[in-house]
């Protein structure tokens, strides 16, 4: 019954997307506002279909309805409740279902947000694009990756359970949905970019319309990437968190272009420049999310030859082709009208800094894209398996990252249009000294490696620069409102310009991550000891004792634990677990975290003949990687809080163009 119900709901979703799309097109062609209103309403049906089919899937998982292929493959009776719930996205078909659900929610919110503007052609076209993307994902499930497919033959008595790696850490419940919420959300800015191109309204209006959704998606994507790194660290047992793996790169690529967009959009809002560029960034971000889905979901990564086994690969490739072709085609078609009215006056200006930032981010994206896709092309064409070694990504990524850190310190201090030498000295002298002092201190404390030392110095430079703008803001507020105490003045300053201070808080998060990247790269020691029970060895001055071996058995899994005691640190229990339906066991590292150090203990191989091989890794400031991610997310959230209307007139002169165009202040337009 569930098979028919779920499939029926997917069919309804497909039909509703198609009908909604057709109604909207008809409404635009006939210029009929009632049809446009009607077309918008199809989103309700789509939401019902998406939420309904997801619930059917969950109920099938919890009811152990093994007549469904997906349930039989991804859940066992012994699977704990949490992992039964997360099994909904533990394999290909379910993850597409989650994708469609997330997209429907985004489209639903957008439709509700623009409920009074449904007859506006810009909104109508954007909705058409959203319906088209929804149609694609529903149809994908209907025809190529049906999550409600029934088993052939007899219904099995028990299922296989999720992949072992997806049922031994609770992060599986948060990481994938967060990542999806990020990736999927970029459909909305994409749809508005296409709509702006079609309706020839590529002023700044569409940017204001999608500002919030873009930021929300970006925040989710950031959180998803950091959580992914954390998952990799806590589950995979290799001690690292990022390996330039194609799967990681797939989520990092759209993040790079989206970050570029979030910055360059300010240039367009302020000066009307970079129109083609912004449209291209939005379109590439969306296309990169589809490319990422293709890379991670079609099985193309293990080998191009797995291509034929997965039915969705060609679909995604064709869809990717259509999206990029439409985007490029529309930009080319509108090219002559997209000419920007402004120009950059001075290399020492905010807009020039943003331009530089964008060159670096897109350059970074190009580096990662080439390194990720090239091996696939070689394998497809020459049938040779190659990988691009990590040094490629590091040699190019580190200088770009350092340059971005520098820009983060200097950029926000630069004024629009042009800066004078005196102003620069005034704004940057103290922060620059902080950086220089940190550089010397780091060298004296024994920091080595150009990239590491520069990272510390620039981190201090950036933090000081951010602190300075905060102090100046609060001070000028206090001057205007003498009755406020420091705390009240600080809060009100931030509330008066949430976008600025939210952005700066995100920068603080980036700085924290940059420092942690440098310390984990430069100050991590790894050792491996082979011990009999009761024996000890010394690692970094601490006595490591292998106490005993312990076997625990549950219906879900069988684990061999090694009880390890490290003097002055604590007890560890790294394990190797085997799951009934999977021959290959997986290791579970045992981690003790404090603000300075992470002790990371793994069991290299199951201790059979008494002797166990135990890996001990000590990392420096690892915890700050995740905290930095948290700060970035908090900053994004702050930037989303509507700003209190500022009473004081802005000091900087507005461009002549903006006076003509008179765009509503962003905070107003989006609330």
């Amino acid at each position: 019954v569930r098979a028919q119900l779920g499939y029926g709901l997917l069919a309804i979703g497909t039909a509703a997307s198609a009908l909604g799309l057709a109604t909207l097109v008809a409404g635009i062609v006939k210029n009929n506002a009632r049809l446009l209103q009607l077309g918008r309403r199809y989103v309700v049906l789509i939401l019902v279909a998406a939420i309904g089919s997801f619930l059917v899937m969950e109920s099938a998982l919890f009811a152990h309805d093994f007549s469904l292929q997906y349930v039989a493959n991804n859940v066992a009776r012994a699977t704990p409740g949490l992992y039964t719930f997360t099994a909904a996205w533990a394999a290909l078909e379910g993850s597409i279902l989650l994708w469609a659900l997330a997209l429907s929610i985004y489209v639903g919110f957008t439709a509700w947000h623009f409920r009074k503007r449904a007859a506006d052609p810009l909104v109508a076209w954007a909705t058409i694009v959203q319906y088209a993307v929804l149609l694609f994902f529903f149809a994908l499930m209907l025809f190529a990756a049906n999550p409600f497919k029934q088993v052939t033959g007899a219904v099995p008595l028990d299922g296989r359970g999720p992949n072992p790696l997806l049922q031994n850490h609770p992060l599986v419940a948060i990481h994938p949905p967060t990542l999806y919420a990020g990736l999927v959300g970029f459909t909305i800015p994409f749809s508005f970019a296409i709509a702006a191109l079609v309706t020839a309204r590529f002023g700044e209006g569409w940017l204001a319309d999608v500002r919030r959704t873009t930021l929300i998606s970006w925040g989710f994507l950031t959180a998803g990437i950091v959580l992914g790194a954390w998952w990799s660290y806590a589950v995979l047992g290799w001690g690292g968190y990022w390996g330039w793996d194609p799967v990681e790169n797939a989520s990092f690529l759209p993040w790079l272009t989206a970050t570029a967009f979030i910055h360059s959009v300010m240039v367009q809002e302020r000066r009307g420049m970079l129109r083609v560029w912004n449209l291209s960034l939005v379109i590439s971000t969306f296309c990169l999310t589809i490319l990422g889905t293709f890379l991670t979901r079609s099985g193309v990564i293990n080998s191009v030859h797995a291509f034929s086994q997965s039915a969705i690969g060609p679909w995604l490739l064709i869809f990717l082709g259509i999206c990029s072709f439409t985007g490029v085609g529309l930009i080319a078609w509108r090219g002559d009208k997209l000419r920007s009215p402004g120009r950059i006056d001075s290399p020492l200006s905010r807009e020039a800094a943003f331009l530089m930032n964008n060159l670096l981010f897109t350059g970074f994206a190009l580096v990662v894209l080439t390194g990720t896709v090239f091996p696939l092309l070689v394998e497809a064409v020459q049938n040779k398996q190659i990988t691009i070694g990590e040094p490629y990504f590091e040699r190019l990524g580190v200088p770009i990252g350092i340059a971005l850190l520098f820009l983060m310190a200097v950029g926000p201090a630069l004024p629009w249009r042009a800066a004078s030498g005196e102003l620069l000295r005034n704004r940057l002298l103290i922060p620059a000294w902080c950086g220089a002092i940190t550089l010397v201190v780091a060298l004296l404390l024994g920091a080595r490696g150009v990239a590491n030392v520069l990272a510390f110095a620039l981190a201090a430079f950036t933090l000081a620069s951010i602190g300075r703008s905060m102090v100046i803001g609060v001070r000028s507020r206090k001057r205007a409102h003498r009755d406020e105490n420091l705390a009240v003045a600080s809060v009100r300053t931030v509330r008066g310009n949430t976008r600025l201070y939210g952005g700066l808080l995100v920068h603080v998060g980036v700085v924290v991550i940059a420092v942690a990247l440098a310390t984990t790269a430069g100050w991590t020691t790894r050792a491996e000891v082979r011990l009999l029970p009761g024996q000890s060895a010394s690692v970094r001055g601490h006595k490591v004792t292998y106490v005993e071996r312990k076997l625990t058995q549950s219906p879900q899994k069988t684990s061999i634990e090694a009880r390890v005691h490290i003097d002055g640190v604590g007890n560890f229990a790294p394990a190797i677990s085997t799951y009934p339906a999977f021959a290959d066991g997986i290791g579970t590292p045992s981690i003790k975290t404090n603000p300075l150090h992470d002790w990371y203990v793994t069991l290299v191989s199951a201790p059979t003949a008494g002797q166990a091989t135990i890996g001990v890794q000590v990392g420096t400031l690892v915890m700050w990687l995740w905290l930095g991610g948290l700060i970035m997310v908090l900053g994004t959230a702050l930037a989303l809080v509507p700003a209190r209307r500022r009473r004081v007139l802005e000091r900087e002169p507005r461009g002549a163009l903006e006076a003509d165009e008179a765009p509503a202040p962003l905070a107003e337009a989006t609330t």
């Binding site: 398996q385 040094p391 490629y392 290959d584």
Partner: protein, 151 residues
């Protein structure tokens, strides 16, 4: 929101030099990127393919994959020595560094490194990867691996 037609911009000739310089810098950056990439290309070969091409590969960095021969693992202080087999060919892997989790008899392993120039049939490895395989089969009682993991 009202939108105005964009104002056509005129490009002053003095900017031409600047654009040329920027374009050249970009081209240079792309060339540098491609060169770095070419330098870091790591070929993957199975043991039998690698043995066949050992002569032409010299000491270039590559990855070779095969199954760990049962009972061949010998621990050293700074690493491990073991035999890797695939397609009827067996080589000795001289690995320096740590081993990944679940490194064991019959495991499907990829070793990154290069052929030892002094001895034939020995491959110096600096990095070991386990190819995750849900169909792993432990060695039989007679100490034989039931299958060739890269087949």
């Amino acid at each position: 929101v009202t939108e105005v037609a964009p104002v056509p911009a005129t490009r002053r000739p003095r900017h031409r030099l600047r654009y040329t310089v920027i374009a050249l810098l970009c081209i240079g950056a792309v060339i540098w990127m491609l060169m770095l990439m070419q330098k870091n290309v790591v070929f993957f070969k199975t043991v039998s393919q690698a043995v066949k091409a050992q002569h032409s590969d010299g000491s270039r960095t590559m990855r070779i994959g095969g199954g760990v021969v049962a009972k061949s693992i010998q621990d050293r202080n700074d690493g491990v020595d073991f035999q890797l087999t695939e397609g009827g060919q067996t080589v000795t892997i001289h690995h320096t560094g740590t081993e990944p989790q679940l490194f064991r008899d019959c495991a499907p392993v990829v070793a990154e490194g290069h052929w030892d120039t002094n001895t034939t049939n020995t491959f110096d490895s600096t990095r070991l990867l386990i190819k995750h395989d849900n169909n792993y089969e432990a060695p039989t009682n007679t100490g034989v691996c039931p299958k060739d993991p890269f087949k």
